[in-house]
């Protein structure tokens, strides 16, 4: 789950990290009032969408006059913002954050993630503030400082010192203590809220050695949301694909893609490999759909329905290697979907494993039209043929 900048800043602020004072507005007529409450000029007007790269897409405006705050807000709200991360369609801006402008002396980058190789929460710190960290990694990786936090010890002050005293040129002395405190808070937020990412970029140091979080990202581990009920209300689903939302409701792993071959597979690895095969056969997958190991007949039915709701889909490939998921359950689910909504496109079925004979019999005995592929290679070829 991704939080918006304003939500992330709210969490940082409550943990004692200094953030610019700001106001969230959802209608342009709230903007004038915001300029009266918030220190300025200058003001910063920031589109609240989940995608990054907002600056490059015109989603962040630095303005000097109250009327500019209003016009900037107006031009953002309700319109689509296209950034390097939104895709060409862009995302509709529903909320705008108006903030006081902070005079920056130096900018840094600070984030916390779990490092997969070491299995440790890892703080990343860089003097290349304001830049995307991937960019810094690609162009000047020596500017990226990492500190692995041993989970058996937790955060300790020397972790902060290892990062701060590696800076060259050094951090202004007056900023050392505030930054240490920010780092400790970031760790605490990360661990307490089950984050997968806490990112402050830029982290600004002012002339008077205050340390500000000027932009912030927080992502939460979906698997841990059950113990953070208070965070659920922060989920802004308006940017999500409606089919993906529907799939989520039925506990199906569905991701919508650009192609025209629907795919239903059990197992994430096999699902990815099936997508790859469709591509190699000359077609394009319309979706990733892993129905998982424990799928019920009903989930299979729902899966077929969701695939078909995507009007671009011209054929469906079902690839099941029965393990926990039995082939007969799959077959029954597909037949039920056909009865319920009809299946308007060719269906290519490839099944192996547990109860495969029963599964094939159920399909055979149904009024369903489908192709049975002997193996994966044939399945892919059959699919490509349907759409060529």
């Amino acid at each position: 789950m991704k939080l918006h900048e304003y939500q992330a800043k709210d969490i940082l602020g409550k943990s004692g990290i200094t953030v610019p004072s700001g106001q969230l507005v959802t209608a342009a007529d709230q903007a004038t009032k915001a300029t009266q409450i918030i220190n300025g000029p200058p003001w910063v007007v920031k589109a609240q969408i989940h995608a990054g790269g907002r600056g490059k897409g015109g989603g962040i405006r630095l303005v000097q006059y109250p009327y500019e705050v209003v016009t900037a807000t107006e031009s953002l709200l309700g319109n689509k913002l296209v950034t390097p991360q939104t895709g060409p369609d862009g995302i509709v801006v529903n909320q705008v954050l108006i903030e006081e402008g902070i005079e920056i002396d130096r900018e840094y980058y600070l984030s916390m993630v779990v490092d997969r190789s070491t299995g440790c929460p890892t703080m990343i710190f860089s003097p290349a503030g304001g830049m995307e960290i991937e960019e810094t990694a690609a162009t000047s990786s020596e500017l990226i400082l990492k500190e692995h936090i041993d989970p058996t010890a937790g955060w300790m002050v020397h972790n902060a010192r290892n990062l701060i005293y590696s800076l060259d040129p050094p951090l202004p002395v007056g900023a050392i203590r505030p930054l240490m405190s920010v780092m400790g808070s970031v760790y605490k937020i990360f661990m307490t809220l089950d984050c997968t990412l806490v990112e402050i970029n830029p982290l600004a140091v002012t002339k008077d050695r205050k340390v500000y979080a000027l932009d912030a990202k927080i992502n939460i581990d979906d698997n841990a949301l059950y113990r953070h009920k208070e965070l659920l209300q922060l989920d802004d689903t308006r940017e999500k694909d409606p089919l993906e939302q529907m799939a989520e409701k039925y506990h199906l792993n569905y991701i919508r893609l650009e192609g025209n071959i629907g795919a239903m597979v059990n197992g994430a690895g096999l699902a990815m490999a099936t997508m790859d095969m469709i591509k190699m056969a000359g077609a394009k997958p319309a979706n990733f759909l892993d129905v998982g190991g424990g799928a019920s007949e009903d989930m299979i039915t729902k899966g077929v329905e969701i695939i078909l709701k995507d009007r671009r889909v011209k054929a469906i490939m079902i690839n099941i290697f029965g393990g926990i998921l039995r082939c007969d359950v799959l077959a029954r689910g597909v037949v039920a979907a056909a009865r319920k909504t009809g299946i308007r496109v060719p269906l290519i079925v490839r099944m192996e494993g547990t109860n495969v004979e029963e599964g094939r019999a159920i399909l055979r005995d149904s009024e369903l039209k489908f192709f049975v592929a002997r193996d994966l290679a044939e399945a892919a070829t059959l699919v490509a043929k349907q759409v060529s």
Binding site: Q85, V114, R116, S117, G119, C120, P121, I133, E134, A137, A138, D150, P151, T152, M191, D194, T196, D221, N223, A224, Y226, R227, N253, I255, L257, V265, N266, G267, A268, G269, L270, A271, M272, A273, M275, D276, M277, I278, K279, M280, P285, F288, D290, G292, G293, G294, I320, F321, G322, G323, I324, E352, G353, T354, D375, L376, A377, A380
Partner: protein
């Protein structure tokens, strides 16, 4: 020979009274696995499929002499189950559970570091030494004893590969699903080291996917130290960046984890990478025949 498990493996199933626990206990017993105990707190004294149930792993160790665990408990309790099993002194823990919070696994990994207990998974199908024992949920009948080791981040994709191997007459020494999560107990390299020592194993099939850098690290290890043929397959060449492809660990992020990058690293290390899953079995056969 085989690695980590064999006919002396005595399994305790944690979460044995749950739906999946009971189902797969039956399947393991069918396969010939010695399931000597089950654990479900509060259900001690009962039996499941003839297997005695205990309240704690400690009791299962003391009274049933188990040395390996297979964990089916739900995600919120899985970290506790793993640490309980490790604290009770088990040699091997296979955690099937999918959906464990990442920070729970961070804690588990920190706890297990420098301990003797080996954790396979979580979010994995387990481990099987065909003809000897299986600790996990993979379909037994598709496996057959033989010279190939299989290490995989995936479940069904592995069954697919094993099935192809068996059909063309290439049996398996040990097949391990290391799990699809970002933090897992053991990686490709951990098991490659074991397979290096295993005289029965003549070659390794390595099944990776997008996300992380485990395949790249394995490529380095293989280039530098591994002396048996390795055939690799990487799933997810068409996966878009920034999206989690089913597995919690299958995500391209921060410019890291792309299939192409992994494939290049493996090829640069002299490893044959099968590009077509449909003919992977044949590719393995060709490489093994070349020797």
């Amino acid at each position: 020979m085989s690695i980590l498990v064999d006919e002396h493996t005595r399994v305790v199933v944690q979460g044995i009274t749950g739906r999946e626990g009971t189902f797969h206990t039956q399947r393991m017993l069918d396969y010939g696995t010695v399931v000597a105990a089950g654990v479900t707190p509060g259900k001690g004294g009962n039996q499941v499929e003839g297997v005695p149930v205990f309240n704690t792993v400690k009791q299962a160790v003391r009274q049933a002499g188990v040395n390996a665990s297979c964990i089916f408990v739900p995600p919120p309790f899985a970290a506790d189950a793993i640490i309980e099993a490790a604290s009770a002194g088990l040699d091997l823990i296979v955690c099937i559970t999918e959906g464990i919070p990442v920070l729970d696994m961070v804690k588990v990994a920190g706890f297990l570091r420098n301990r003797k207990t080996v954790l396979i998974g979580p979010n994995c199908p387990g481990i099987i030494s065909p003809g000897k024992t299986k600790v996990g949920i993979m379909p037994g009948p598709i496996h057959t004893p033989g010279p190939m080791a299989v290490i995989s981040r995936s479940g069904t994709l592995t069954y697919e590969v094993v099935d192809q191997l068996t059909r063309i007459g290439l049996g398996q020494s040990t097949c391990i699903g290391i799990g699809g999560d970002p933090i897992i107990g053991t990686t490709f390299i951990d098991h490659l080291k074991r397979f290096k020592q295993d005289t029965e194993t003549k070659g390794v099939v390595m099944i990776g996917e997008i996300g992380g850098t485990a395949e790249e690290e394995a490529a380095d290890y293989i280039r530098d130290t591994f002396d048996k043929p390795v055939i690799a397959f990487i799933a997810g060449q068409t996966a878009p960046p920034g999206r989690r492809m089913g597995h919690a660990g299958a995500i391209i992020s921060g410019g890291e984890g792309m299939a192409n990058h992994k494939i290049k690293a493996l090829q640069a290390a002299g490893i044959t990478v099968a590009m077509d899953l449909g003919t992977l079995g044949k590719t393995v056969q060709e490489v093994m025949e070349k020797g």
